[in-house]
């Protein structure tokens, strides 16, 4: 057996419990807790005239009813605007319970607590809210028109406006470069809303014992939920613990915090002195969590006879829904990641983020990249079509070359740091994906087309993550990190890193994530950052533990630490395995205890050893125990990349679209576990197929979400997802010790662009929107 597990397809350590039905998701906890339910607005925009709870008071099992007026000042404040930005001049967030005005269907208005969920919903149904309907603002262009306002004090519904411009190397601006270019094109692209839609919705469960508050939340960031709760409830931080239990998918929506329920449920638990749990149902998730993607883009591009882009000007109208709790991360990501693997002559991008009376917009896997990539890749295809060139040839002439890294795109990325690509090999990746799909041998025919899409993804954004590694006297290794898990296999990949770094069998290693009792400092799981950030932090923490273990073992073995190594959990002299000491014994020696509670510790009491009497048992600079903590804080993001290609067939009569083949070449630097990376890619592509062909949020003019159920919001089943063929390229990141880049969001990013490219090839019709349904394709045929 080997402990060098980095890079191996190790089977997942979380699977046995999840397969046996022994996972512990939010709603599996708190048996016996009171249940919370919410009365939510049925109107997209309305003033609350009155709330009458009288009829609900007779419901058996009712415990409490709360409206905004019942909340103490601190709890009733608007929720925090998490990521302010100078361009977000009119950021607005919701109150935990609506105060006077509701701004989207689904906004919480009344909270009910009862002995079970059925009874809580009975009470909700009997509460009468009198609304004065106001004019709803629905649709990007209506919002931009600004005739009616979502927020009275936000003129024109404009929350943010940002222009970024990168001149050409000769100092030309984009407008000038386009003007002067031999060829120019102008067009419009439409991208509809979709949503993360994890199969487990959100949920919060809170316990208050009179001194300490423990909150479980189905979140992507337990550490920040903890700080937000402590702030909202005015509690000292050490008296609040937040735990993300098993989480049934996140995909972005669960990074937002605190959600109204994350403040209200703990507050009510403290007030009532009872455990309270709220579990989101599916309709609630549709109408009161978050959506993403909706944009209209106007593009102007100028290029030369080879298809080289000389100037690109993109104007984006971004739908932010009713509130901006997560700032303008999504349109910033669209604006910057739009550039993809290309060296663009001069670039100007402008976005206007507008409010609408719809569910708020926060990141969903890809976080603005699918829109940006759709824009750039549609542009590349249009250039190729205009010039009569092969689409891959046009991409090739625009690629950043392998010898140009690090490559500075001249912009500011979403982390506020320069957009500098660290490494990559785009021409080689293109060759690989062309070979995988058989690009050069493909012969298009009516109803059968091939498409391609390329992207670059900034992953592993800072500011930091940490890792803690402790080896106990039973020889077990306990690894913890503060960020959370939603199915990415962190218990496995982090254990692989620890096994490799420490030389300990993986069976002896356990990993805990997202539990503030174990690790209090973290940022969260998003932006394909967990493996990069916590992976490296854990490796650094392991190095500290290893160093200490070797130092202690060197004393015991009377050897030089430099001559020692660890394998199979034994510290031994290199080349002389007989002179060894188990890590369990080293752990005992590391802790000079006075109490002998078992045989191992008996050997370590300060009276049993031969410790020198002329110095303290714990010498200066040392700490008891065999443990280490370290943090990884990158100078900037590391840039993964990928290229996808697909072959589609379209039905001549029904316009049904079938993806016949789908090929992915992906570069996320060094792979920790290829099986898991591949799984991430499969899942991302499947979500991308949903976004390209099926998923959209259909709002009517009144702001009602017409398809707020799985009956009508079409997520792909197994029958809709093509077989995915994958190839990996590994260009290590020079920015972090492990050389890794993120992989979580990658799969979803280029799919809409790829499918549009292939449909266009099959049909000869330009595809400028996503998703595209058979009936829309049918209509486009005219």
């Amino acid at each position: 057996m080997t402990t060098r597990l980095f890079g191996e397809p190790v089977q997942r350590r979380e699977d046995p419990r999840l397969l046996a039905g022994l996972g512990r998701y939010l709603d599996d906890l708190g048996s016996g807790a009171l249940a919370a339910a919410f009365v939510r607005s049925p109107h997209a925009h309305a003033r609350i005239r009155d709330i009458d709870v009288t009829a609900a008071l007779d419901v058996d099992g009712l415990v409490a009813i709360y409206t905004w007026e019942d909340l103490p000042e601190r709890v009733g404040r608007p929720l925090p605007l998490l990521i302010p930005h100078p361009a977000l001049t009119h950021g607005r967030t919701a109150y935990p319970l609506a105060r006077d005005v509701v701004r989207h269907v689904g906004e919480p208005v009344v909270m009910v607590v009862a002995t079970d969920r059925y009874l809580a919903e009975d009470a909700c149904a009997l509460i009468e809210v009198d609304y004065e309907p106001l004019k709803p603002v629905v649709g990007l262009e209506e919002a931009a028109h600004g005739a009616a306002l979502v927020h009275e004090d936000v003129p024109g519904n404009v929350g943010a406006h940002l222009v970024q411009e990168v001149p050409s190397t000769t100092g030309r601006g984009a407008a000038e470069a386009i003007e002067a270019a031999p060829h120019t094109l102008a067009f419009r692209l439409d991208i509809e809303r979709s949503a993360s839609m994890p199969l487990e919705g959100r949920g919060v469960y809170a316990r208050w014992d009179g001194t300490d508050l423990r909150v479980y939340s189905s979140t992507q960031t337990s550490t920040s939920v903890r700080m937000a709760i402590a702030a909202a409830l005015g509690l000292p931080l050490p008296h609040v613990e937040v735990i993300a239990p098993d989480v049934g998918g996140g995909f972005g929506v669960k990074i937002v915090h605190p959600w109204p329920e994350e403040v209200l449920v703990p507050w009510a638990a403290m007030l009532l002195g009872r455990e309270i749990k709220w579990t989101e149902d599916r309709r609630e998730h549709f109408i009161s969590s978050a959506h993403e993607r909706g944009q209209v883009q106007h593009v102007r591009v100028g290029f030369d006879d080879d298809g080289r882009v000389l100037g690109l000007d993109v104007s984006i109208l971004h739908d932010h829904g009713a509130y901006t709790p997560y700032g303008i991360i999504v349109p910033i990501v669209t604006s910057t990641q739009l550039l993809g693997p290309y060296r663009i002559g001069a670039y100007r991008v402008e976005f206007t983020a507008v409010y609408t009376n719809t569910v708020q917009v926060t990141p969903y896997r890809g976080a603005g990249r699918p829109q940006g990539v759709f824009c750039m890749e549609r542009t590349m295809d249009k250039i190729a079509r205009h010039l009569g060139k092969d689409r891959t040839e046009v991409r090739e002439v625009n690629f950043i070359r392998p010898d140009e890294f690090p490559y500075d795109q001249g912009m500011i990325f979403q982390d506020g740091r320069p957009l500098i690509y660290d490494s990559g090999d785009y021409p080689r990746m293109l060759r690989m994906v062309k070979e995988l799909i058989g690009w050069d041998d493909f012969r298009p025919e009516p109803g059968r087309g091939i498409g391609i899409g390329c992207y670059v993804e900034g992953t592993g954004v800072g500011p930091y993550e940490g890792g803690h590694v402790q080896i106990t006297s039973d020889g077990r290794v306990h690894v913890s990190t503060g960020l959370t898990s939603q199915g990415q296999g962190h218990e496995t990949v982090f254990a692989q890193i620890a096994a490799t770094e420490l030389g300990v069998p993986i069976e002896r290693i356990s990993v805990v994530t997202g539990d503030t009792r174990r690790f209090g400092y973290a940022v969260g799981t998003f932006a394909s950052r967990a493996a990069v950030m916590s992976g490296n932090a854990i490796a650094l923490a392991c190095a500290k533990v290893r160093e200490k273990a070797l130092r202690i073992a060197a004393g015991a073995l009377e050897a030089d630490p430099a001559d020692l190594t660890i394998s199979e959990g034994l510290v031994h002299v290199v080349g002389a395995p007989s002179a060894s000491i188990p890590l369990s014994t080293v752990a005992v020696l590391a802790n000079p205890l006075r109490y002998a509670f078992d045989e191992e510790t008996a050997r370590a009491t300060q009276f049993s050893g031969a410790a020198a009497t002329d110095r303290p048992p714990v010498v200066e600079g040392e700490e008891p125990g065999l443990e280490g903590r370290d943090y990884y804080s990158p100078i900037r993001s590391t840039f993964a990349a990928g290229m996808h290609a697909a072959i589609v067939e379209t039905d001549p009569l029904t316009a049904e679209i079938k993806v016949v083949r789908y090929a992915v070449v992906h570069d996320c630097g060094r792979l920790i576990n290829p099986m898991i990376v591949e799984g991430q890619i499969h899942g991302g592509v499947a979500q991308g197929i949903g976004g390209a062909l099926y998923e959209r949020m259909v709002y009517d003019a009144d702001g009602q979400l017409l398809n707020a159920s799985f009956m009508d919001f079409l997520m792909p089943y197994a029958t809709e997802v093509p077989h995915i063929e994958t190839g990996h390229l590994e260009t290590p990141s020079p920015l972090n010790p492990l050389g890794i880049k993120g992989a979580g969001e990658a799969g979803v990013i280029p799919v809409s662009a790829v499918i549009a490219s292939a449909i266009e090839d099959a049909e000869g019709i330009e595809i400028d929107r996503m998703p595209i349904s058979p009936s829309e394709l049918f209509d486009l045929r005219g």
């Binding site: 699977d15 999840l18 039905g21 058996d60 998918g249 199915g487 799985f710 997802v721």
Partner: protein, 160 residues
């Protein structure tokens, strides 16, 4: 208040007597009355399949079933799939093929696939896709789930 009914469910081979309101869903009964939280609820309108359990051996949506309507019937949940020697071939195949990520939809898939392979021990690719096409998964893209069904069929054949 809603009238309560005393019913007996034979869950994973054990008779469980429970008092339930007429409107209590089987999914909620299993999860909250009997403490079998392995059965998950993803949509409560019968589309996602997370709540699939076996009712007298056949897969049903427990979120569309009132507990009182299955009085006296045999129910197998994900907790009942493993044998005395550990995880069932279907469960082992899912682990081997990386057919789960967050694991929330997994119990529904496991029950569905267990019934599928009982009915058709050697399904074709088409039959596998058809067989799992009533369950949603948001993580895996299904490719490894389909692979796991074939692998489970192999394991079952080897072990029978």
């Amino acid at each position: 208040m809603t009238a309560e009914h005393e019913i007996t469910l034979v869950v994973n081979g054990t008779a469980r007597r429970v008092r339930v309101p007429g409107r209590l869903l089987l999914s909620d009964c299993l999860r909250h009355e009997l403490g079998l939280t392995g059965t998950h609820v993803g949509c409560e309108h019968g589309v996602c399949g997370c709540c699939t359990v076996l009712l007298d051996g056949r897969p049903v949506r427990s979120c569309l079933t009132f507990a009182v309507t299955v009085d006296g019937r045999e129910i197998t949940t994900v907790e009942g799939l493993a044998g005395p020697d550990g995880l069932s071939p279907v469960q082992r195949a899912f682990a081997e093929c990386h057919a789960l990520q967050c694991g929330f939809c997994t119990p529904g898939f496991l029950c569905t696939v267990t019934a599928l392979l009982k009915e058709n021990p050697a399904p074709t690719d088409e039959q596998v896709l058809e067989g799992i096409s009533g369950n949603l998964c948001r993580c895996t893209g299904y490719q490894n789930i389909a692979k796991a069904v074939h692998r489970a069929a192999e394991l079952l054949a080897e072990e029978s």
